[in-house]
Amino acid sequence: MLIELTVNGARHSVDVPEDKPLLWVLREELALTGAKYGCGIGACGACTVLIGGEVVRSCSVAAKEVAGRPIRTIENFDNRHPVQKAWVEQQVPQCGYCQPGFVLAATAVLEKNPKATEAELVAALTNLCRCGSYDAIRAAIRQLAESKHKGA
């Protein structure tokens, strides 16, 4: 079926099977490979994208369900975003495969509530990292939480 997707501000017409998940449309049709396949059941968060400010695990939603809605992938962010800056400053990634998902999940929390606390961020970041970069992620979100409070 022909659907229209709005990804990172650009509109794309794609002809896809009825129930093809958004993840595979992004990766195969649009060559946006920042969203990763990790589990296919919405358990790991490697495929995280933002749709209208909400965190969506793109492996578990059909592309047609989100046609027309504003989709943002990691490619929308160019490392000047505060979350990415914190991630680079704290040297978070190891293998890095899961990190775009973490960055987007943290971004969504802070967009909704710029004063989100470290604990709120920890609770919201349910993604998995097999390299165990969690201490560095905590350092990055602590840096973000503290800078938000300072700015307030």
């Binding site: 896809v16 099977p17 093809k20 998940p21 595979w24 990766r27 195969e28 060559a31 490979t33 920042g34 969203a35 990763k36 396949y37 990790g38 589990c39 296919g40 059941i41 358990a43 790991c44 490697a46 992938t73 990691i74 490619e75 962010f77 160019d78 490392n79 990415q84 991630w87 680079v88 040297q91 978070v92 990634p93 190891q94 293998c95 890095g96 495969y97 899961c98 990190q99 775009p100 960055v103 920890v122 609770a123 970041l125 349910t126 993604n127 998995l128 990292c129 097999r130 390299c131 165990g132 970069s133 969690y134 201490d135 560095a136 992620i137 905590r138």
Partner: protein, 742 residues
């Protein structure tokens, strides 16, 4: 002592001159390898197989090791940049072709089924052979050790010829020049010249026989942990993993393996719905069927529209496997003694107190975040393979064989790895992609395993059974220590699958790593291992046999402390009276953790495991049992890995290893029933998430030790440290993992 260093010494000896302290002599090996040229772009010049400098001043490192999270490429760049005087942040990497010069000598020698002496003619011979017939492998926590002398010499040698070329242009003495920021500088005159400007001249010069290494006090990068070069791309999504390879006309393949180990495809029938739009066909791989389509999701859907019958296969279950382990340990003479006590029976009868325990651990999957995948294209008798892998020369050789090609007809492109942990040293997925591509000539095909296939078709950390027995003298010292274990051999499994010419029935000394050679004063000690081959494939799982043996030995020494009525830290400390380096590491972990002072409801456990040439002690603090649910609150890691070239990354690796081990100890378990793996995804193969993961404090203990490995050493002590904390909390000894059912 590493290979290169010995040749430095040998060369120095032959030249009739001693080794200059803090200096280097160009190794025989280096000289021989200088003849090899990496592929060069126009206006690029080679400075050894590892380094290229462009006329534009670009400094390119041939990144012949797999970047799987451990930061190996950044480390290699730092080492070269330091000696070369290159501008490290501007350095780039290129994936080199498969070539002997890039083989990992240290890993190859350590992986042999025999223990090669540290010194002597046998060692030298084996190491020379390793370079010819070894593996270009990233594994065994060896990359830094293998690279340290080689790449340091590459940087220093290249620096000297760059200086010489610039000095000639300027008409000054090369000795008055230095390098910094990818420029040659002549301080007396203030002249500077970019590397690019003199690269052509310098590349034509003979490398000097000897040169000085920079004084570590002047290091700009080493020991300073500058930002990793691979980090920005991993934060903005531009990093390219195997699964991200995109080629014109790319097709995708999904795969279903026989669910039972050893089963074969008997028949494949297409149901009515199979030939959906985009489906291009199916390939019978013998033990699996792959479907090729214009989308991976379409291919995966089409797999459901195949009626695949499998035949044969194992019916084995965990109970039978453990019964086989028990039988092997019951049978006199079946186990091989790697450490043999001279007077074990006497010591056993003389001990005033005796203690015995039986331990068991399950199979474990790797569960890399990036499921197994590879891309291949066969065009007119030439095969190209793109994938994350830990052994490119094996990718080349195995894929060539599978497609009936000569090895020189195969090109391997190694991408970033979304986790390796030993899994990507086994190359089934690359071979499958090549065979599928062979069925669709000239078409690039990307094979991606679903997570379910990834979990159920792994090469697992073996399950194992161990029986430990020890005795105490009246004064509390250990009279004897008798350790026996039975499990399959990961090294043998790996060899059979990937390097069958190396598979053998010699006693596998790696099976007793972290079981034999313990640093404790244990009196009469005997350590035995019985290899039991089971139908479940086993392979290298981060820290390999250290992962189960560390658990057995460190839980048992903890139990023994209880029998002796001693504090587990103090008991270990006393047993380390002749192992001061280990004792210092143990003491550091205890001190950091505030050992001996537990807050109400909190309990700590401690463990010490030396592996890969490094020493690590960990303390894990939990809350919960017996009153409430178990929670890992905090952990402390002290390690001596010798010189830490990138301390921040060493700390990150230690945390990484601890989290990997804690996930396994808490929840990790692959169950086998009727030849089938019972787990399939992260819902039933649970791993620690951010909210579950304890903050981990790390300290590096620097005491002049030889350089050891880092990538795996955090894993082994984490499991017994957690188990010992739980034992303390509940009053019931943990003797089997995982501690909680998923």
């Amino acid at each position: 002592m590493g290979w290169t260093r010995r040749l430095f010494l040998t060369t120095a000896g032959l030249a009739g001159a001693g080794l200059v302290v803090g200096g280097g002599v160009l190794a025989v090996r280096q000289r021989r390898l200088l003849a090899f040229r990496p592929p060069l772009a126009a206006s690029q010049h080679a400075f050894s197989p590892w380094l290229k400098i462009g006329a534009d001043g670009s400094v390119v490192l041939m990144g012949a090791r797999a970047e799987m999270g451990q930061g190996v490429l950044a480390m290699m760049a730092m080492v070269v940049a330091e000696e070369l005087g290159a501008d490290y942040p501007a350095m780039r990497f290129e994936d080199p072709p498969v070539a002997n010069v890039y083989r990992n000598v240290v890993a190859t020698v350590l992986g042999l089924p025999i223990q090669v002496p540290e010194e002597g003619i046998l060692r030298d011979t084996v190491e020379v052979a390793a370079l010819q017939a070894g593996l270009q492998i990233t594994g065994g926590s060896t990359s830094t050790r293998d690279a340290w002398h080689q790449l340091r010499a590459v940087g220093a040698g290249a620096r000297e010829v760059l200086k010489a070329a610039a000095a000639k242009r300027w008409g000054v003495a090369a000795g008055a020049c230095d390098t910094e920021g990818s420029m040659v500088v002549h301080a007396p005159s203030g002249r500077r010249m970019g590397f690019g400007e003199v690269a052509a001249d310098a590349a034509a010069l003979e490398w000097p026989e000897r040169f000085a290494y920079r004084d570590p006090k002047t290091w700009r990068y080493l020991g300073k942990s500058p930002a990793r070069l691979d980090v920005p791309g991993k934060v903005d999504g531009s990093a390219r993993f195997g699964i991200d390879v995109r080629l014109p006309g790319l097709r995708y393949a999904a795969i279903r393996h026989a669910p039972q180990f050893g089963a074969r495809v008997q028949s494949v029938a297409e149901k009515a719905g199979f030939r959906a739009k985009g489906v291009e066909g199916q390939v019978n791989l013998g033990n699996a069927v792959a479907v090729v389509a214009d989308s991976w999701w379409t291919a995966k859907q089409a797999l459901e529209q195949l009626d695949i019958r499998f035949a044969g296969g194992s019916e084995v279950s965990d109970a039978q496997i453990f019964a086989a382990y028990a039988k092997a340990l019951d049978e006199p003479g079946r186990a091989h003694a790697f450490e043999k006590a001279a007077r074990l029976a006497e010591a056993k009868s003389a001990a005033t107190k005796k203690h015995a325990a039986e331990f068991r651990v399950p199979y474990l999957a790797h569960a890399c975040m990036e499921p197994m995948n590879a891309t291949a294209r066969l065009t007119e008798g030439r095969l190209e393979v793109w994938c994350g892998n830990q052994a490119p020369n094996l990718v080349r050789d195995l894929c060539a064989k599978a497609c009936g090609l000569a090895a020189d007809r195969v090109a391997v492109h190694t991408t970033l790895l979304g986790g390796g942990f030993g899994r990507r040293a086994d190359l089934d997925y690359a071979v499958q992609a090549s065979r599928i591509a062979a069925a669709f000539p000239s078409r690039p095909v990307q094979l991606i395993w679903s997570r379910e296939e990834d979990i159920s078709q792994d090469v697992y950390r073996p399950s194992a059974l161990a029986r430990y027995e020890a005795g105490l003298h009246a004064d509390g010292s250990v009279a004897f220590w008798h350790a026996r274990s039975a499990h399959s051999s990961p090294g043998r499994g790996f060899a059979q699958r990937n390097i069958p010419y190396m598979a053998n029935d010699l006693p596998d000394h790696t099976a007793v790593e972290a079981a034999a050679g313990l640093p404790y004063a244990l009196g009469e000690r005997q350590v035995e291992y019985a290899r039991v081959d089971a139908p479940v494939p086993v392979g290298f799982w981060r820290s390999v046999n250290n992962s189960q043996n560390g658990f057995f030995a460190e839980c048992f020494v903890d139990e023994l402390a209880g029998v002796a009525g001693k504090d587990p830290f103090e008991f270990r400390r006393a047993l380390l009276k002749d192992a001061p380096r280990h004792r210092a590491v143990l003491e550091k972990a205890a001190q950091m953790s505030g050992w001996g002072r537990d807050a109400p409801g909190r309990h700590k456990g401690i463990a010490l495991v030396a592996s890969f040439g490094s020493i690590v002690a960990e303390v894990v603090e939990i809350s919960g049992p017996p009153a409430a649910d178990l929670r890992i609150e905090r952990a402390w890691v002290a390690a001596d890995c010798g010189l830490a070239l990138d301390p921040r990354n060493v700390a990150a690796q230690l945390r990484s290893g601890a989290i990997y081990g804690l996930s396994a100890a808490l929840w990790g378990g692959i169950g086998i029933d009727k030849g089938r793996v019972q787990q399939s995804n992260f819902h039933d193969y649970r791993v620690l998430a951010l909210a579950d993961a304890p903050p981990i404090e790390v300290a590096l203990v620097s005491q002049g030790s030889p350089m050891g490995g880092v990538g795996e050493i955090g894993v082994p002590p984490s499991m017994p440290a957690l188990a010992n904390a739980v034992s303390r909390a509940t009053g019931k000894r943990v003797r089997a993992l995982p501690i909680l059912a998923g």
